[in-house]
């Protein structure tokens, strides 16, 4: 039963907020933060002690069941969201004071926590699929939050992409069900496909794999299905930062990992044309996303394109189909989550304090918002991959895994990583240099001498995340070894 709680607590909490139980802002905030923290604490306890727990929640048919469990991969993903959600919520309190309809916002924000946890805990493809669909629906109101024409359009786009992606993934699920050894979609490390049944239909099944890869790839923003991600950056920053840089998009990558390693199985996929197709798409997206980010002048959209690129790092690691590849992929999943949420938080702080949206408007802001841009500089260096910060470790691991996978195409991937790293330096350091080393614009001359850093509720998460970025870089070994064990199926 314990496994159901982290899903239910936020959902019930969110409904309570949504039904208007709280009038005062302070009490509501305390309630929201308390629920988030309680869920995170419970998750943390489960991550440490819950290895192997399973819960059969609901049986729809013989083969379609809602089951939760905790395995290595669950622990990785739920650890990430359990760490970030309370920080993002704290940040959102201050941020959302500048927006309208806070209650609605926090209701959905809390509920989406529960749904994301559901994805992390799901023990079979059907459960994953169900929560995956639910996540789309529950986060849609967050995208639509501003209720103007742009949000409306972004919301529609988000919905179309996601639902059609899920439909593709659905087809994959049916095929897994059909070709599984004993008809179930349960996640078993190494895959469940029965090779005897596949005989003769291998290409069909590979095509279906690629289809469902693309389906889940919608949320992981793989080219050519990435377009929704930069568009939804119109949402309030806590949403962009947490959901569209971590929770939702990482759920896509997480689902792809489940699909490759726990449903179809690397044994079945490795060395096939489907693997190469998937890998090529990921590699292309890595460079493409970075190139688009260089081109983009809108601050948040630039970061969103950067997310497009970095998600494909994660997917690329997964498509290597080796334990080392998966370990690199998981490392980047965690580290990119921490780094990108920090960058978005900084962008949000700028937006809320000064309403500057474009990079060229940020000239000289390092002096106006020293804390924010100090943090931004550290996070930017980390994402570029400057040693000894977090991003360097994950990129190094990914590249090592690619080179040792023994596949010719993977070498090209190493090149893609390096090119993308240079482009990352261009699009992030432009911001850093603009803010730190240039004088203020004429239009922001009025800000000279003022200190516009946000309040403690926005600063505290930023400080914690910055410490995490440095610490994860310097003391990465225990974590990376844990991830390697997870990736080898030991948990």
């Amino acid at each position: 039963m314990l496994l159901l709680l982290p899903v239910l607590i936020p959902v019930v909490g969110g409904l309570t907020v949504g039904l208007g139980a709280f009038r005062g802002r302070l009490i509501r905030s305390i309630f929201v933060e308390a629920v988030t923290l309680a869920t995170s604490a419970l998750l943390a306890w489960l991550i440490v002690n819950g290895q192997g727990m399973t819960l059969h929640a609901l049986r729809l048919t013989e083969n379609l069941t809602i089951v939760f469990h905790i395995d290595g991969l669950t622990r990785v993903f739920s650890g990430l969201i359990a760490f970030l959600w309370p920080l993002a919520t704290l940040y959102a309190f201050e941020y959302m004071e500048h927006e309208s309809r806070e209650s609605t916002f926090f209701a959905y924000y809390l509920m989406s926590y529960g749904v994301t946890v559901g994805i992390a805990l799901s023990a079979n493809l059907f459960t994953l699929y169900a929560f995956y669909e639910l996540l789309t629906l529950i986060t849609l109101p967050l995208v639509l939050h501003k209720m103007d024409a742009t949000s409306n359009r972004a919301g529609r786009m988000y919905l179309y992409y996601s639902i059609s992606g899920a439909a593709l993934a659905f087809i994959g699920m049916i095929f897994v069900l059909t070709y599984a050894t004993n008809p179930s979609t349960a996640f078993i490390y190494g895959g469940v496909i029965n090779s005897a049944r596949v005989a003769g239909n291998k290409d069909l099944l590979l095509a279906v794999f690629l289809m469902s890869f693309m389906g889940f790839g919608v949320k992981a923003a793989i080219f050519p299905l990435h377009h929704w991600l930069p568009t939804v950056s119109v949402a309030p920053t806590p949403v962009t930062a947490l959901l569209h840089a971590v929770a939702v998009v990482k759920a896509g990558a997480f689902a792809i990992i489940r699909l490759i390693y726990y449903s179809f199985g690397t044994h079945f996929l490795r060395g096939t044309w489907a693997q190469y197709a998937a890998m090529a798409l990921a590699m292309f997206t890595i460079v493409y996303g970075s190139a688009m980010a260089v081109k983009e002048q809108h601050f948040k959209r630039r970061l969103a394109y950067s997310t497009v690129s970095n998600l494909s790092y994660v997917v690329f690691g997964a498509t290597l189909m080796t334990p080392a590849g998966l370990a690199g992929s998981l490392t980047h999943m965690l580290f990119h989550g921490v780094m990108k949420i920090t960058l978005f938080f900084c962008a949000g702080a700028v937006l809320v304090q000064t309403e500057r949206e474009y990079v060229q408007d940020l000239r000289g802001f390092g002096r106006v918002m020293p804390f924010t841009f100090g943090v931004f500089t550290v996070a930017a260096m980390a994402l570029v991959g400057v040693a000894p910060l977090a991003g360097f470790i994950s990129k190094w691991n990914l590249a090592t895994a690619a080179a040792s996978s023994g596949q010719g195409l993977a070498y090209v991937g190493v090149g893609a990583l390096i090119v993308s790293a240079i482009l990352t330096a261009v699009y992030l350091f432009t911001v850093v240099v603009t803010a730190q080393f240039m004088p203020l614009n004429a239009s922001s001359a009025a800000l000279a001498g003022r200190k516009l850093d946000p309040g403690w509720r926005m600063k505290l998460p930023l400080a914690v995340l910055t410490v995490a970025i440095v610490a994860l870089g310097v003391w990465s070994v225990p974590l990376v070894q844990f991830l390697l064990r997870v990736a080898s199926g030991l948990y």
């Binding site: 919608v218 050519p224 688009m292 260089v294 260096m381 040693a387 190094w396 790293a421 080393f437 870089g473």
Partner: protein
């Protein structure tokens, strides 16, 4: 963590000190200067301690397993101790003693400056003490980024542009090096410098190693300022504050040489092909640098180009050491000593340039000429640097240049005896001497202009009235200047000792026999070079590079064509125009490919409906048209996965004036009348001006449009659900 804790302290103590100084500086500037002095002094003391330990025959190591993944590995040996000491000395002289005076009046952002300066000190120590290339790379990257703040310090247009170049070269170079390191690791399974030497020795197929070596060398060569990656160097030095220029030129370029030494001595030891490649780039760097320096009329730019040229000398030394293999002891000593000498000489010269700039804020030779008259300390320091760099016997530069020169001659001899193609190397030898001559010429040009010539009388009077260089800065100048002749005079003991300490790093055992640096051949070589220099000065500098004005005064002119600039000619157009345009076009097409396809399909559907409307203009056909449009829309929805927004999101339909229906009209009229009534009675002063008929109609349309959108999106989702369900059923029934 195990091993000697002093080694990591060398790297991390200045970094901690940097943050402490920054925080102190927010409270008090004076206390900050004291703190910076203290950090530099402590670093120098620690480095001196390490040096003493090495001279005493000890060595040390430090390992921090798991730091940043693959661990931090530092080591102390002769080379590393010497360079830690030089780094400590240079930081102490420039930022402990010289900088507080230099920055006295006019500089902004000093806190930021000192923060990055001390961070760079820590990172530089880290590079020089590193025992694995992984550690080297970590500190190298940190150093590249923190030193950016030096170049960008002024925040003026020129500074920002130079800084941009600096950053671009550093990042691209760093990434290329990373790629090389990565391939090396994959090939030989280690990045420990000592293990690389052993592992690479066992590799039989050298082909891939050349690629690895070239990739690794690119990043380091860029930092060292080797042609054609030198582009940042002549731009960055003049715009950086003088104490920072001294460090950029004296020590940061040497971190690049450090990496090149590892490549040449450990990855491809005694490899002739590699030696030839390094020689070609070395000779070009040496010659082009000196040529640019000769043409320059800007004090710091001349010194910067001179740095480039001297790095070329060092590269030639490294190349000769590789070419000579077992006999390369002379060349190795020459290269290593020239590194040391160049660091010390540029320390003096750039501080002297700083002493000029802090008073005049000018660097053009025509404007600063005569400034040095009657300023003994400045004169002494500059003279020492000048004599050192041109290779005057009894000064330090003479020794290292002679050694490299002699090694070239030795190689020519060997080739002659074995019947090899010796002529190209003879040409190299002549170019070497000629470049030495150019060095002398541009240094005489600077020296004569600043210390002997007179400016126009009024300016000269102003210059003479300016006091001498204030105390701590003068001390730094004097002390740094004094080192050079001391090293030169006692070179047979001191410099041979230093070279003996350092040679292990190049896997060299030194020259076979005990040398006398002041041999006849060496003296003749130096004399030849200096004579060429004198001739060049008289004929080229005096003859071609100056112009007599109407009032009879000579002015220095810059005859170098500005367009002949590798950066402006090749790199920037390539990076800023050609590549982005190509990539941009590709990206643009890809980005909108799906959108355009949908837009086209959708427009066809809508156009079809329009056509029917216009053709038949009847209600029944209207319905048919709408029906077709819907069919097309739904088809697109499923076909292109929801990219359908292109139709209505981007291309707005012709905006018809909103009419509404009878109900909205009636309500609108009612409200309008009420409003009119109110305007006449209650709200005469503040009449209601809204047009309710239009407002209601607009509201109605908006509502209908929203309903339509909602219904479509739901229908879309349902449609896909149905497709999925059909497949489910199909399979369940099968």
């Amino acid at each position: 963590m195990r091993g000697n804790m002093i080694l990591p302290l060398m790297a991390f103590l200045p970094m901690a000190g940097a943050i402490a100084c920054y925080l102190i500086g927010r409270i008090s500037k004076g206390a900050r200067n004291v703190a910076v002095f203290a950090v530099c002094a402590v670093d120098l003391a620690m480095a001196a301690g390490l040096f003493a330990a090495v001279v005493g025959g000890r060595s040390a190591e430090f390992c921090w397993d798991g730091f940043c993944g693959m661990g931090l590995h530092l080591k102390l040996d002769g080379f590393r101790a010497v360079y830690a000491l030089i780094a400590g000395l240079m930081w102490f002289m420039t930022h402990g003693l010289f900088a507080p005076v230099y920055f006295e009046s006019h500089y902004r952002n000093r806190n930021r400056y000192y923060l990055f300066t001390l961070l760079t000190l820590g990172a530089t120590n880290g590079v020089f003490l590193s025992a694995s290339l992984y550690t080297t790379f970590i500190f190298f990257e940190i150093m590249s980024l923190t030193s950016y703040a030096w170049v960008a310090h002024d925040e003026k247009e020129a500074a920002m542009r130079a800084a941009q170049t600096y950053l671009a070269v550093a990042i691209i170079g760093g990434m290329v090096t990373l790629m090389g390191l990565f391939m090396l690791y994959h090939r030989v399974g280690t990045l420990e410098i000592d293990e690389i030497y052993i592992a690479c020795g066992k590799v039989t197929d050298k082909g891939p190693l050349y690629l690895v070596a070239a990739l690794i060398a690119i990043g380091f060569a860029a930092k060292a300022g080797a042609y054609p990656l030198h582009i940042w160097l002549p731009k960055a030095h003049p715009v950086a504050p003088a104490p920072a220029s001294a460090l950029l030129s004296g020590i940061l370029t040497k971190t690049g040489v450090f990496g090149l030494l590892v490549v040449s001595a450990d990855i491809l030891p005694a490899d002739a092909a590699w030696g030839r490649a390094v020689l070609i780039f070395g000779v070009i760097t040496m010659f082009v640098g000196a040529l640019l320096a000769l043409f320059s009329v800007d004090l710091k730019r001349t010194l910067a180009c001179s740095s480039m040229s001297q790095i070329g000398f060092i590269l030639v030394g490294i190349a000769m050491s590789n070419l000579l293999g077992h006999h390369g002891g002379l060349a190795a000593h020459g290269a290593l000593l020239h590194m040391v000498n160049h660091s010390l000489i540029k320390l003096v010269l750039f501080m002297a340039a700083g002493a000029v700039y802090m008073r005049l804020h000018k660097l053009n030779l025509n404007e600063i000429r005569g400034f040095g008259r009657g300023k003994p300390v400045l004169h002494f320091a500059f003279l020492m640097g000048y004599l050192g760099i041109i290779g005057m016997p009894l000064w330090n530069g003479f020794v290292s240049k002679s050694l490299i020169h002699e090694s070239i001659l030795e190689y020519v001899e060997i080739l002659r005896e074995s019947g090899g193609a010796w002529i190209p190397y003879k040409v190299v030898e002549m170019l070497f001497l000629f470049t030495g001559g150019m060095t002398a010429a541009y240094m005489i040009k600077l020296y004569v202009a600043i210390f002997w010539e007179k400016n126009d009388p009024e300016t000269q009077k102003r210059f003479d009235a300016m006091g001498k260089t204030p105390f701590p800065a003068a001390l730094a100048l004097g002390l740094s200047g004094l080192i050079l002749p001391v090293l030169g005079v006692f070179s047979n003991r001191l410099m041979q000792g230093v070279a003996g300490l350092m040679q292990g790093f190049m896997r060299s055992e030194g020259p076979k026999e005990v040398l006398n640096y002041f041999s006849r051949a060496n003296l003749i070589g130096a004399a030849e070079s200096l004579l060429i220099g004198a001739a060049l000065y008289v004929f080229v500098v005096r003859g071609l590079l100056t112009q007599r004005q109407k009032d009879g005064r000579r002015v220095y002119v810059d005859r170098w064509p500005t367009w002949l600039d590798l950066e402006g000619l090749v790199y920037r157009p390539l990076l800023e125009r050609v590549l982005p345009t190509c990539f941009g076009m590709i990206c643009e097409v890809l980005n909108h490919l799906a959108d355009w396809a949908t837009a086209l399909l959708g427009t066809c559907g809508t156009a079809l409906a329009r056509l029917m409307d216009n053709l038949f203009n009847a209600k029944a056909f209207n319905a048919v048209g709408t029906f077709f449009a819907r069919i097309m829309d739904e088809g697109i929805d499923t076909l292109v996965l929801g990219l359908w927004h292109g139709v209505f999101g981007r291309r707005h339909k012709r905006e018809a004036a909103t009419v509404g229906n009878r109900f909205t009209y009636a309500c609108g009229r009612l409200f309008d009348r009420i409003a009119a009534f109110l305007n006449r009675t209650l709200r005469r002063k503040h009449p209601i001006e809204a047009n309710f008929v239009a407002a209601f109609a607009a509201g109605w349309d908006e509502m209908r449009a929203n309903l339509r959108r909602i219904s479509w999106s739901v229908s879309f989702g349902l449609l896909l659900m149905c497709v999925g369900l059909y497949i489910v059923f199909a399979y369940l029934l099968m």
